[in-house]
Symmetry: C2
Subunit: 142 residues, 2 copies
DNA sequence: CTAGAAACATTCAAGTTCTAAATATGGTGA
DNA sequence: TCACCATATTTAGAACTTGAATGTTTCTAG
């Protein structure tokens, strides 16, 4: 009992739509929480991804954007005193990004807000695990 | 055997990252195909969502964007002769969007391109169904 | 039947995000 | 050393987004 390739394509299209829909919901969720802290979405994403000291390139990759884009965002965060660009200890080409005390504090509050009413709350822990497995396989196998 | 709420939050954060990652791959996939047809991502999305005559508002919703944004995109498509704004048959406030012959042709080519090397090809048909179920549940229950 | 509220589309202003190309500087290996 | 790669930034231009305001038209409560 195979599915005709025609409706297969339709199903994949709808599935892409669902993935985008959920991603959109997540993005909205982030944005809504971010504005209450005076941040844009990208700034919030950057803050969230700052799990520790890293270079511009690393941050750009974690944000899945171009380095020039990361420069723009970090500029804003630096102006707000949330992040610092230091000389990289071993590579003089690179900068080392470090959160300031204010940045760390704000990051904690952000993570707390993001955890509330998560867009994934409609799924049980088992279902979240299943979803994770499927997404990992989809992302890796291409 | 319950999971501590701490690591639960971490897991959800990672899952959000995966969803965003796959959405990004899909978006890149669309963009790469779109440029070969002289379209931007948003224009391609609009074309893809034009399954038939509809109003600006309907299109905006299908594109999950603001109506003012849809105006911007439709302007471009209209200049390229791919879409037409007609008077709505029953509501004089609304416009009815209709693809031109060129628009229909291009849409077909776009759909064909999008179906090739889909970002979801790493999943079997069963897995795609499972993913669909999970995503629908996540999106609806919130 | 009429006045007020709501819906549709557009415009405008301001800002954010993105790509692509160019630049300056520093590292690396033949 | 010298040619090549990597890091970060700058710049220019475009695309995208939001939010508010506007002009029509429709709906609806009274």
């Amino acid at each position: 009992m195979t599915t005709p390739p025609e409706s297969q394509a339709v199903a994949e299209r709808e599935l892409c739509g669902l993935v985008n829909g959920l991603a959109q919901q997540i993005a909205n969720h982030v944005r809504e929480r971010a504005v209450t802290l005076g941040l844009t979405s990208a700034q919030a994403t950057a803050l969230r991804e700052m799990t520790g000291p890293m270079t511009m390139r690393e941050l750009a990759e974690r944000m899945s954007c171009e380095p020039s884009n990361a420069t723009f965002v970090v500029d804003k965060l630096e102006k707000q005193g949330l992040i610092e660009r230091r000389a990289h200890p071993t590579d003089r080409r690179a900068k080392q990004l470090v959160l300031t005390a204010a940045g760390s504090t704000l990051r904690e509050r952000l993570l707390e807000l993001l955890a509330r009413e998560s867009p994934l709350a409609g799924l049980s822990t088992q279902q979240q695990r299943a979803l994770q497995d499927l997404l990992e396989q989809a992302i890796i196998h291409r």
